[in-house]
């Protein structure tokens, strides 16, 4: 492996890892805010317990998201300096705005929320979690605008002297349809992930007989959020797919392993064939579904999906010799894993609602295990989605403008990037073990039996702290 391959592995590993925490942060911050609002409005203690409990899980997770996020910003300059030089005039702006507008907001107000339970009046304290939750969404918007520029560059010109991309329309970068559709898809999938997490944890605790009143309410909340989010994920995914067919037809062709341009292209649920899908021996197909996903038409000339081979010929003419197809087996399966695992998450939420209907408490050991592992469905699904999106863009780092191989830092040695890859992988692995153990403990302990709150005056007069590090 050379420095380029290692730099790509490093980016893949650190980014997928970071994004395990991101959707949980986005979804759970707002769902915790909703629980706290329910307590604030109704005064019902079950919602306060739920807020405290899911807030605790959220914070263990948030810490990991924060620290792994710093690596993301530094990595562009460290390992991808030529990429940074080429797109910096455009790509740097949303990153800087993200830090200034959203990182400050989420980190400062979360600090206020964690330590402010007995320092702030209740309404103001509630506002801090909403501000933090809003900050996480805003942050997602800017980083996805930057990513969308890589998927579909817009609002720029290439400076003929420096050969660097220069921003001409920041509004276009922030509001192009790629950005809007991606944001909607990522946010709805984040709520799916968080919804399923809350359902799984609540179900487990109900079966354990702990804080059942509180957990039945959170189960319902989580399940309905997961179901509605699941529908939105489908809808936004569909919108995104149709945009993708226009902007990156090769990605859609690879997702379906369509080699030759055709009408009425089927969608294969399962295929036995060679690895890259160029030959199938046996398959279960839904006729015309791929055409429909890509174009909105089942058959006829309008249902035409361009094939990998034809696109390859077209790109060779436009960009010169080279391989313009991504690694098809990975894209084909990542696409299915994304849809399938996301769908399983929604099914689990419906199932959990069904088995707990009318105050029922399931007892089966299988269901208990399902509740433990259910979170993995949408979480692995969302990772598969990112792997699909990013690997499906290859060989480009900025679609049609710069190839990935041209973006890596020219001075980066195999040793240096190999070392950092090993360091990050080992460190992240160790932290994952510690984090999961802590989360398991937090769930085992469950929501607090009683919650005592001081009022702000007492707290400021030097009473004991309700929360300290």
């Amino acid at each position: 492996m050379n420095a380029l391959d290692l730099a790509r592995w490093q980016f893949g590993i650190t980014t997928v890892y970071h994004f395990l925490f991101v959707p949980l942060t986005i979804g759970t911050s707002m769902l915790t805010a909703i629980m706290q609002t329910a307590w604030y409005r109704t005064g019902d203690e079950k919602w306060l317990k739920a807020t405290k409990f899911f807030g605790k899980l959220f914070l263990i997770n948030f810490a990991m998201g924060v620290v792994t996020g710093i690596v993301q910003e530094f990595q562009f300059g460290m390992a991808w300096s030529d990429y940074s030089r080429f797109v910096g005039d455009i790509f740097g702006a949303p990153l800087a705005v993200e830090a200034l507008a959203s990182f400050f907001l989420e980190s400062t107000f979360l600090g206020l929320w964690i330590f402010g339970w007995d320092r702030l009046p209740r309404g103001l304290h509630l506002a801090t979690i909403w501000a933090a939750a809003f900050g996480t969404m805003l942050s997602a918007y800017f980083i996805l605008a930057a990513n969308s520029f890589m998927q579909h560059p817009t609002g720029f010109v290439i400076n003929p002297v420096t050969k660097r991309a220069e921003l001409t329309d920041f509004g276009a970068v922030l509001t192009q349809n790629t950005t809007v559709a991606t944001f909607a898809h990522v946010i709805s999938s984040s709520f799916l992930v968080s919804g399923v997490m809350i359902v799984g944890v609540s179900l487990w605790l109900i079966m354990k007989g702990k804080s059942a009143t509180s957990m039945r309410s959170t189960l319902k909340l989580g399940a309905w959020v997961a179901i509605v989010a699941g529908l939105l994920v489908m809808y936004t995914g569909d919108v995104q797919a149709k945009i993708m067919v226009q902007q990156q037809p090769m990605k859609m062709a690879a997702a379906e392993a369509v080699y030759t341009t055709a009408e009425n292209v089927p969608f294969s649920i399962i295929t036995v064939g060679n690895l890259d899908g160029s030959e199938a021996y046996w398959a279960i197909d839904i006729p015309g579904l791929t055409s429909f996903l890509a174009t909105g038409h089942w058959n006829g000339p309008e249902s035409t999906v361009q094939g990998i081979n034809d696109l390859q010929t077209k790109y060779e003419k436009a960009f010169g010799p080279g391989n313009y197809a991504p690694y098809v087996p990975l894209i084909f399966w990542a696409f299915r894993a994304m849809i399938g695992l996301g769908g399983l998450g929604v099914l689990f939420a419906i199932f959990a609602l069904f088995i707990t209907r009318r105050e029922k408490t399931p007892t089966s050991a299988t269901i208990k295990w399902m509740s433990v592992f259910a979170l993995l469905f949408p979480l692995v699904g969302i990772s598969a989605g990112w792997i699909f999106t990013e690997m499906g863009r290859q060989p480009w780092i900025v679609y049609g403008q710069m190839k990935t191989a041209a973006g890596v830092s020219p001075i980066l040695s195999t040793f240096t990037v190999g070392l950092s890859l090993v360091v990050f992988t080992l460190l992240y692995g160790a932290l994952a073990v510690i984090e999961v153990r802590l989360l398991i403990r937090a769930v085992k302990i469950g929501p607090p039996e009683t919650v005592e709150l001081m009022d702000a005056d007492d707290a400021n007069n030097g009473q004991t702290l309700t929360f300290s590090y």
Binding site: L59, I60, A63, V66, V67, T68, G69, I70, E73, F74, F76, G77, M78, S81, D82, S84, R85, V87, G88, D89, F91, G92, A93, L95, A96, V97, A99, A101, F104, S107, T108, L110, G111, L112, I114, G116, R119, L120, R164, E166, L167, F170, S409, P410, I411, L412, T416, L419, S420, V423, L427, L431, I434, L438, I445, G462, T464, L465, S468, Y469
Partner: protein
């Protein structure tokens, strides 16, 4: 505004962001470095960590903003600097990761149920604070003094390695930031705690502050004489550094903790200002090839981007300052070990572990 003016504005804004970072995460680092020594029991150590609890994460965002702003306004500087200082930044990243999770995780387990847990995280906090406190000084000293840069494929590229960066001048710079941040942290602790910790922090601030003063004067003079592009201006700022530091140490001695903190914070601001004044009009001078030197003008991004970013900064920075200041106001009360209920117990100890 012209492109040249915008580029200068962004050079100043990035200096401002680093000022914020040195002032805020500076004392975070200091507190982290002092933690294993100043806290003699669990209640004290938890008090020390809790002084940072609500603020450390927001403080660290100043670094992310400085990084993002450099990317947005001076992509060529960002690219050459970050790829050139790769291994040093790797060390800083690992330190910041370990330190951040350590704050969140250390009190999750109790001393009875997990005997080594807190000690290990305390060392993680110590090392995670010590390394960046040292390495930011090393990095800035190298930036100001210049590093080997050559033009390759039209870009300025770093041609040295990690050991090029560990030269005597830069290491002295590292010791200076280490000393400044540690003292600044001690001053902060004296301001934010009550009882024994406050007394010890006050004493440590005086002692470490004196050693730092000697190192800082040596480094300041070396920089002024050998590496300043604007000697008349930089000597004035250097004098301000010295004045502010003397003020901080004097106020600390008199037990005027608020004034001591203001003065040590001012020192951080003047130190960053001094380095940026010495550096201007360069952003990253080459020690081997003058043509490869990156300057405020040749590394700046387009006029359009700089204009937009200026509007964003002008509107958002005051808002950030207001709500971050408000956080410090909300948590203005001093902490004391007596306020930590059941200090030996971990918040995620299971019921049977607590009773055992």
């Amino acid at each position: 505004m012209t492109h040249d003016q915008l580029a200068i504005i962004w050079f100043v804004l990035i200096a401002v962001l680093w000022c914020g970072y040195f002032v805020l995460e500076g004392f975070d680092f200091g507190v982290g470095i002092l933690l294993p020594f100043i806290g003699r029991n669990e209640a004290e150590r938890r008090t020390v960590v809790s002084t940072l609890g609500p603020v450390w994460d927001g403080n660290e965002v100043w670094l992310l903003t400085a990084g993002g702003a450099t990317f947005a306004a001076f992509s060529l500087w960002y690219a050459t600097l970050f790829s050139g200082f790769y291994l040093a930044l790797l060390l800083i990243l690992v330190a910041l990761i370990v330190r951040g999770v350590a704050f969140e995780f250390r009190s999750k387990r109790g001393t009875a149920s997990a005997p080594n847990w807190r000690r290990n995280w305390d060392w993680a906090i110590f090392v995670g604070s010590f390394l960046p406190a040292l390495l930011w000084g090393v990095a800035f000293a190298n930036i100001v003094a210049g590093v080997p840069l050559e033009i390759q494929n039209g870009n300025s590229e770093f041609t040295g390695n990690l050991f090029t960066l560990l030269n005597p001048y830069a290491l002295l710079g590292g010791l200076v930031t280490l000393g400044l941040f540690t003292t600044h942290g001690a001053v902060f602790l004296a301001l934010k705690t009550e009882g024994e910790i406050r007394v010890r922090a006050n004493k440590l601030a005086g002692q470490i502050g004196l050693v730092t003063a000697v190192l800082a004067v040596a480094f300041g003079l070396w920089t002024q004489l050998s590496h300043s592009n604007n000697k008349a201006a930089s000597v004035v700022v250097l004098a301000l550094v010295v004045l502010a530091w003397v003020g901080a140490l004097a106020a600390n001695r008199l037990g005027r903790e608020g004034w001591a903190f203001i003065a040590s914070a001012a020192t951080m601001v003047f130190v960053v200002t001094f380095l940026f004044v010495c550096l201007y009009p360069n952003v990253m001078p080459s020690s081997t090839n003058a043509d490869a030197t990156l300057t405020v003008q040749n590394a700046a991004n387009s006029q359009y981007t700089l204009t937009i970013m200026t509007w964003v900064a002008v509107i958002l920075t005051p808002v950030v300052l207001v709500y971050q200041s408000w956080t410090y106001w909300v948590f203005r009360k001093r902490l004391s070990p007596s306020q930590i209920p059941d200090p030996e117990r971990g918040s995620l100890d299971l019921p049977h572990e607590v009773s055992a």
